[in-house]
Symmetry: C2
Subunit: 190 residues, 2 copies
DNA sequence: TGCATTTGCCTAACACCTTTAGGCAAATCG
DNA sequence: CGATTTGCCTAAAGGTGTTAGGCAAATGCA
């Protein structure tokens, strides 16, 4: 019987594609086995279990996102950098909705520490070099930016902005204007 | 054989409690049947299927949230109102993490239209009465506020802010300061 | 090249979840 | 108080997750 040539990486990539097609929650060991025309049990030589598979997809998504973010920030500063980074998240979520969901998969502390998650916060922190913020305001701003990026993208993806005027693109542009203004004139504690 | 007195509402409430205990994704018809000490098939007289059950829990969460939001905004304006509304979402998510997840369950368009979702945007819009914004900026601001509230709360809930200084409470306070400042001096389009 | 070992996928089996069909007894109504 | 409705049950089928053990293809070594 010919071998299918499975391995953890191919399974992870196929799982990511499957996630983009049918949603991360619908990524299942069975569905993946069907995709490779292989029996379900065969996958268990390559991934420990369903949770392990999902973790691998999550890690893949986090790395792809961090790679894009790093590339987007290279050579940019100020609002230019802010826009570029923000669009990395938004575009990735629209191109790869399943992977974007996967990036939100809860990781156990050790796995999270070894993931590309740290790169994300370092990159956001780097973006703030273009603005005049000292600690701890810099950290507050990192958290605020992360919240807006994630919040906007995830609400938009769920369709929250798609059935009313004005167009979501416009709100996104004005949101970035607003964040830029906010970072340039970061208010003191009330 | 004594009857258990099941009905859709009791199942929905129990499902919401179960969600808070074990996570919305783990809410299952079987688990709910165990909780009522009843056979699984019995639940199918009261809810159509698993998806229907989850939808009902989602609608319950959306209503509870809207009720709290309405109460929080009554008699408040400006930053006072902003803080009150923001804390409604944050506190609800921390008290009822499973219900908060449920509120993000994707609803079909008709169900969404009939849900308390509309109240949420109307309430946020009402909050903006305390600031000087004309359309379409008011809508952009509604979307931005929704993004920050949801984004912050969901990142915090997933533990993103819990393993670093400063304390998340402090970032939350400064985030609200920042939003208030932003709304008071909303920048023109770049 | 030929044999031993490793590796990869398979069958079998069990557990749990979802859903439908049909039955009996409790509750309700005339 | 009998007829009807209602509520929970048993039974059964199909899907997913996971483990154990087997056979054959690939690989490594003499």
């Amino acid at each position: 019987m010919a071998r299918a040539g499975l391995n953890a990486e191919r399974l992870t990539r196929a799982g990511a594609e499957l996630a983009d097609e049918v949603g991360f929650a619908q990524v299942t060991v069975s569905a993946l086995a069907r995709r490779f025309d292989v029996k379900v049990a065969s996958l268990y030589s390559h991934v420990q279990n369903s949770h392990d598979l999902k973790t691998r997809i999550a890690l893949l998504a986090l790395e792809e996102l961090a790679d894009r973010a790093a590339e987007a920030l290279a050579g940019r500063a100020g609002k230019d950098a802010l826009t570029a980074l923000a669009n990395v998240y938004r575009d990735y979520a629209r191109e790869h909705p399943g992977r974007y969901e996967a990036a939100r998969f809860p990781l156990d502390p050790q796995t999270a520490a070894d993931s590309a998650g740290g790169r994300h916060s370092r990159l956001t922190r780097a973006l703030l070099r273009g603005y005049d913020l000292e600690e701890p305001d810099r950290t507050h701003a990192v958290r605020l930016l992360g919240s807006v990026f994630h919040g906007y993208v995830s609400l938009e993806l769920s369709g929250a902005f798609s059935h009313s005027e004005p167009d979501s693109d416009e709100s996104w542009a004005r949101t970035l204007d607003a964040l830029d203004a906010l970072l340039r004139g970061w208010p003191p504690a009330a």
